[in-house]
Symmetry: C2
Subunit: 379 residues, 2 copies
């Protein structure tokens, strides 16, 4: 329970729904990750939460930034990050956007296909490029599709081709899937990357960097391994597969950097049953799937929810179904997940949805059903 | 194929992604629905597309408005609709919002629970209230959960209770599910409502209105019944179950009013394969699940997609997987649905996504991955 945020809500009573982010927690997360992986460069995944206050804090701490688009690059620059601390990490880029990023000084780019490599060679001459490989995503809570990355054989061919283009084949990246709780997933990917490094070395291409991606979890309703456990597992894996010849490493935490720094306060709009015999009450909140809680899709991410004044996940409470305030039938948050709330719960009561610092504000719809996007306050 | 929209795209070449809505089609849809159901009052579901131009056109044509929130009520008023043509159709409302709507002159409200009825009695004295009943949603393409409505027994008890409160028990509503293609679903619900009317009449409560909800479909990749077929099925069902004593009827089209009036133009950002042996190409567009195409969730709504210059759903084309431009793994549009596109397709080509006039702009995220929300132009 974050006392600073709790005090803010009690003293300020902001209009709900409202996300409050504690910048001290972000700073702590940065320092913890830096301590856990002292040799890795941290590229914060801006998409997780691009609040200017968060970006400015991280820029000041020395963080680099993983950006998904030109507007994200501009936000990082505006927050004080120099261009050499920015990576254009999206493998899907319009060529005009590559040119714009290059003009802004960005020299580090991701790709995973022949067509994208060609774009980079044309529009970002001299840039360092890294190839993303496919991983299975097993063990991750947020679904990882085959959308990003290519297989190892293709990655080898593309990095070899890059040598003969006006770009620098610089490294390999992978992503083990967001909210990854299985430490072995990193080892499997690092093993594959080390093989690729050796194969390319034989062919005369010396790669210098391995981008370990994100996946570092936030604690939701169940425990996750500590940051230090990730650091140790990754370091041991690098030693095993690369020996004493360790490449430069990059990590791209998003959720792991800001997830636990934020709490949303929301008001209960209605508590009802569908019939006299209905075993579960429906609790409708003033925030839903389309105003910030998109990650409740398929009940993938299960946030800890506290009824203000009553505490968290009341074991003596009654089972509830949680839903959002819109007229959309799909705007149901949790039906199968077992949330329990006090039997006296009523309209006007407030709940706090914890660990909502990542992937909430930006998922929020512009005006679905006339509801304003989620507001955010950094303290 | 809408020639007016095609011409606009060719002459104006707006920056993609861009939704263009043809107001003539909206007018035609309004007139068709009015002709098909001449005795029903049309309440346009503002949430489907609240563009000021659409609301102003419909207000001028005499349409009433189904609103989900106070901002939607304000939009309808601003478009020229008098308050007596507005229904606050959301069964989940903050009491402060009920008061605000009442102050704005709204006198027609939905509810489906005891707590909501109490709020209406306190904060909207004298208003007409209608109770929403649960339906199964079978046959609908967009999932209908149990989120809205109560069972018939509870509806009867609540409407009976309303008689003794300072509100007018006015009617019953249901919703057969969005994009409903099974005409029998209306008959089943109307049968239940007629029974409820008779039971309450015996108890001294004379209801005057049946709200048939929405569900009227738009043609996506497969044919849907004609508007006139819906009108006929509904009229016959009303005659069968109500005899000559027909109640006032209300319909709430959203998708059926604006869906086929809009076309999104989008640019292909990348075409790639994951390996040399990959049987399907990945086609990445500059619009995705988080910038307007939320209804591709679980591939529920399958829009007709035209490659500009090549035509629709090329049977000679090769199978593709379609995905959006963000770094989010979940931002995949169609993987199982069989879309085919020409083998020469490449980055920079344009596609038109048809029947996207409803439920696109407002689902769009504020700034996910730094991408701007979907822009809309009404012509």
């Amino acid at each position: 329970m974050n006392q600073k945020i709790a005090r803010f809500f009690e003293e300020q009573r902001p209009q709900t729904p409202c996300l409050v982010v504690d910048l001290d927690v972000v700073e702590q997360n940065y320092n913890d990750l830096h301590d856990a992986l002292p040799d890795a460069r941290i590229f914060y995944a801006v998409k997780a939460n691009p609040a200017p206050e968060i970006l400015a804090l991280l820029a000041r701490l020395g963080s680099a930034f993983d950006c998904a688009s030109v507007p994200e690059i501009q936000m990082a620059l505006a927050a004080g990050a120099p261009a050499e601390r920015i990576s254009y990490g999206n493998t899907i880029k319009k060529e005009a956007d590559i040119r714009r990023a290059y003009e802004l000084g960005v020299r580090l780019f991701a790709f995973d296909s022949d067509a994208e490599l060609e774009k980079l060679a044309r529009s970002a001459p001299g840039a360092r490029v890294f190839c993303r490989i496919l991983t299975s995503g097993e063990g991750a809570e947020w679904p990882l599709s085959r959308k990003f990355g290519c297989d190892l054989k293709m990655a080898r061919a593309l990095l070899l081709k890059a040598r003969d283009l006006p770009v620098e084949p610089y490294g390999v990246s992978f992503h083990v899937g967001s909210q990854q709780k299985d430490l072995k997933q990193w080892d499997h990917a690092i093993f594959q990357v080390a093989q690729l490094f050796r194969e390319l070395e034989v062919l005369g291409v010396d790669l210098g960097m391995i981008n370990l991606g994100g996946g570092f979890p936030t604690r939701y309703r169940t425990d996750v391994p500590e940051c230090t456990a990730y650091g140790q597992a990754i370091f041991e894996s690098l030693r095993t597969h690369f020996g004493n010849h360790l490449p430069e490493t990059i990590v791209e935490p998003g959720r792991g950097m800001v997830g636990n720094a934020g709490v949303i306060e929301s008001e209960v709009v209605l508590v009802s049953r569908k019939s006299d015999e209905d075993p579960k009450r429906w609790v409708y909140l003033d925030i839903g799937k389309f105003s910030g809680l998109a990650e409740t899709m398929d009940e993938a991410i299960q946030y800890p929810i506290e009824v203000v004044g009553e505490g968290m996940d009341d074991p003596d409470g009654e089972a509830v179904i949680l839903a959002g305030p819109t007229c959309d039938s799909a705007d149901v948050l949790y039906e199968r997940a077992e949330y329990r709330m006090p039997s006296e719960l009523k309209a006007g009561d407030r709940v706090r949805i914890h660990a909502t610092g990542a992937y909430t504000t930006t998922y929020s719809a512009v005006c679905f059903n006339g509801f304003a996007p989620l507001q955010q306050i950094c303290i």
